[in-house]
């Protein structure tokens, strides 16, 4: 199994257009605000679309788009969990206790952290620099930069019998 990685592009090799494309991925978190909707899932959908649009561009752009997308997944899940939990209070008379309140605080902190790190990553990307989030940075690097053994399958035309 190959453990080779493609070389990382340096700032001087990256044209301004690619830097801006890489930066754009981190701004998908504001997509729902732009649409005027309080729906966190819109951000996620926007990030998925952005990644798919940009995945055939340079590895630098792909890395930043993917890191933005992957790091948004747990935040979106946490937010969705909060919404479901909050609705269940009204619907099923769940007890409003410290477990919920502390979850709410942790979700708010996670969102703030995500926002802070995303802004930092966007600035770095604009400068043509790599910026690795904990876990998601390594995971994105692994997916984008690892050299995969291409399984080339040659198809041959055959007669019907």
């Amino acid at each position: 199994m190959s453990t080779d990685y493609y070389p990382i592009q340096q700032p001087e090799d990256l044209p301004a257009r690619e830097r801006e494309d890489a930066m754009g991925g981190y701004f998908m978190m504001f997509a729902s605000l732009a649409a005027g909707l309080p729906l966190p899932i819109i951000n996620l959908i926007a990030a998925i679309i952005y990644y798919h649009v940009n995945k055939h561009k340079s590895r630098f752009v792909r890395f930043h788009s993917l890191q933005s997308l992957l790091s948004q997944l747990p935040v979106s899940l946490l937010n969705a969990g909060l919404v479901v939990w909050a609705i269940s209070f009204f619907k099923y008379d769940f007890n409003f206790d410290n477990t919920f309140l502390s979850y709410l605080i942790v979700v708010i902190l996670s969102n703030l952290l995500y926002l802070g790190f995303s802004i930092a990553a966007a600035i770095k990307a604009r400068q043509g620099l790599m910026y690795y989030f904990l876990f998601f940075g390594k995971l994105s690097y692994e997916i984008v930069y690892k050299v995969k053994e291409e399984e080339e399958q040659i198809y041959r035309n055959n007669p019907p019998i």
Partner: protein
């Protein structure tokens, strides 16, 4: 690399769970304090609403009407819902349930009822809405529809909104009717009493097609409640219903 990935993943998990557990044992704000503040706020909103709409609480002993409504309220009870019954001076033939476990009876509907049993049916119907938390469902549905149709400011969007919301609302009304039937049976009152009330309302109502109405078609409701044979109720009240109505 894989080991590092797992290590990072575990660090994130531990950080998340650690922070969650930390705030459970060292809360920034105690949930009891928040709960109390919510309850105070709810009470405050209720009081303001009652004052603004000039609702009168049924349990108060001030008039014959409110005393008799209080008596009906004690008959129509449910172990899961502690509700408050209010009287409104509106002429509109209507009764409604509001968030905060409030049921409001308009003067119009009281005058329309020939017997207290009919009004008991109305209260039971509204209690059904509270019991099944229909106002929460309605709120969630309205919000969801608004979000789904956001941006479609077209006529199509508006029509879709009206039709879907009314369809959902009709289901709720149907459920509340079923609850009223169950409650009336428990009190040994024939559900046919409500059929009588609906017939009177039907004559006075505007003929709105069912798909545009938030309530199931009146014909359907009358048939549903008419299925039960009419039997004179044996319930005894401490008030004279005619006198109560004449006092309005």
């Amino acid at each position: 690399m894989k080991k590092r990935l797992w290590r990072d993943f575990l660090i994130l998990l531990v950080l998340f769970l650690g922070a969650w557990i930390f705030f459970i044992y060292y809360p920034v704000v105690d949930s009891e304090v928040v709960k109390e503040s919510f309850n105070d706020k709810e009470k405050e909103i209720k009081e303001k609403l009652v004052e603004l709409m000039d609702f009168k609480q049924a349990d108060s002993d001030t008039t014959q009407l409110l005393r008799s409504l209080g008596e009906l309220k004690h008959l129509v009870s449910d172990k899961d819902v502690q509700y408050e019954l209010y009287y409104s001076d509106s002429r509109e033939i209507n009764a409604y349930a509001l968030p905060g476990n409030m049921i409001v009876l308009n003067r119009g509907i009281i005058l329309e009822c020939d017997t207290p049993e009919e009004l008991i049916g109305v209260i039971a119907h509204e209690l059904g809405h509270l019991k099944m938390k229909h106002h929460t469902d309605q709120l969630i549905t309205t919000l969801s529809i608004e979000l789904l149709l956001a941006g479609s400011g077209s006529t199509t969007g508006e029509v879709t909104k009206i039709l879907t919301q009314n369809a959902f609302s009709r289901d709720m009304e149907s459920e509340a009717d079923d609850f009223a039937i169950k409650k009336m049976k428990e009190l040994n009152i024939s559900p046919n009493y409500l059929a009588k009330l609906f017939k009177k309302m039907y004559i006075k109502s505007d003929m709105v097609p069912e798909f545009l109405n938030s309530h199931p078609g009146m014909n359907k409701r009358i048939s549903k409640f008419s299925q039960y044979p009419f039997e004179e109720s044996t319930l005894e009240f401490t008030f004279d219903w005619l006198k109560v109505k004449n006092s309005l």
